[in-house]
Amino acid sequence: MTVAKKPNNRLKLVLALLATAPALWLAYLISQEISLPTSGLGPDPAEGLLHYLGDWSMIALLVAFSVTPLRRIFKQPMLARSRRMLGLFAFFYVALHLATYIVLYVESSWQLLVADFVERTYITAGIAGFFGLVAMAVTSTKGWRRRLGQNWLRLHKVIYLVIPLALLHLIWLRKDGFGDIALYILWFSILLGERIYQARKPRAALTKGL
């Protein structure tokens, strides 16, 4: 339609490629692993995969959560068009992370999964966070957005719970070495701070978003 649209579509494409990169690299590691066991994911691929996907889940969630502030800062309304896509990427990595846990950790035993959910708080937090993301992913379509109206915004505020749950998950499971966690918390705090700042500004109503 307009001339300005093209570069923004390009931006979305670049973002899509960046968001796919960890999955492509993983596909490469898995192909290595299949041709020569332990060469791609190490001698304990269950843990290798779980950690790789866990790390990228966390990063992807924070990236998706960064879209709205970046849009405001760079006055790039078109960035918002990538928000749904980046959110779905985050969901995709979390879903793969969960799938790894189900297939390689509890080896598809529902009893073990339920036992973990009940006994291990970090699993409880992870699964609660995952359900929040499921709700967001399912209602991310235009149709659902229209159907839910104002409630859509309200529902998608669940991200304010999902990210702290994911952080709790990580804090509770980690034994030592808290460098990455500190970075994630800092990143999340900045994004949260920006939103609080925006919400307190009188004209916040106009640019209100998630």
Binding site: E33, P37, T38, P43, D44, L104, Y122, K175, G177
Partner: protein
Amino acid sequence: MLIGKSPKIPTSEIISETTYLNRRKFLGQSTALIAGSSLLGSANAGLQPDDEITPEDIVTQFNNFYEFGTDKSDPYENAHTLTTDPWTVTVSGAAKKTGEFAFEDIIKGMTAEERIYRFRCVEAWSMVVPWMGIELKKILEQFEPTGDAKYVEFKTLVRPEEMPGQRSFFSSIDWPYVEGLRMDEAYNPLSIMVTGLFGKELPNQNGAPWRLMVPWKYGFKSVKSIVSIHFTDKQPLNTWQQLQASEYGFYANVNPAVSHPRWSQASERRLPSTLFNTNRRPTLPFNGYAEEVAHLYKGMDLKKFY
């Protein structure tokens, strides 16, 4: 199956690999003795029929040694900076002979024999490792512990210049790494001080120049790169217990019946595990060494003393 059978190392290979390794005299000496001693002696009788020796590159490249970083690959990547010669060990507490000793002097004249043990990490993975070691009892008795010695406490080296994990701002461990045993545990014939691996000198990332090995306990009990031995009448507060007493106890005996808050201990992944076969097997009480050690804990509630 994607993984071929891991090669069993022929005896001849073990010996030929060791003979040229005599940076430290004792090793050459012990090698000669190994040749004559029972390589597959009684201590290896505890192996299960399907226990296969874990490939050497996995044993030496997949380690938990937080002094060098928290990733499993960190110790292999970082530990080459560690100076292990000279190595001084401080012996203190309830013993007649205390003071500072050169590592070589402590083990002088002793035979390092091969012990193939299962090794079970609290993180629910396991290996089978051909250690070279000396019975801990023989080592400790030289210091003539007195009647007050109820426990023995070990400490790992603190040397941040060479140990990047100890420089980390984001570690909550209060170095040095501390572990301990009850004296009767230490004197059990299964307890050894390891000085070698796969018939070679012990690599730094595996705890050079010497580390403890108590195969019926979770791996974190088997403290590495030891610089201090202390005899005491008080139960040592080991590092992981300091960090999380609700999760890690003093005993840390492998026990499938006592679930850890982070991991179910009912089963383990025997490494190498693959994407298509995690090589999972049930975990055995005392890691399969119940016959040798269960009597040490008679009458104790192992759910309480985890």
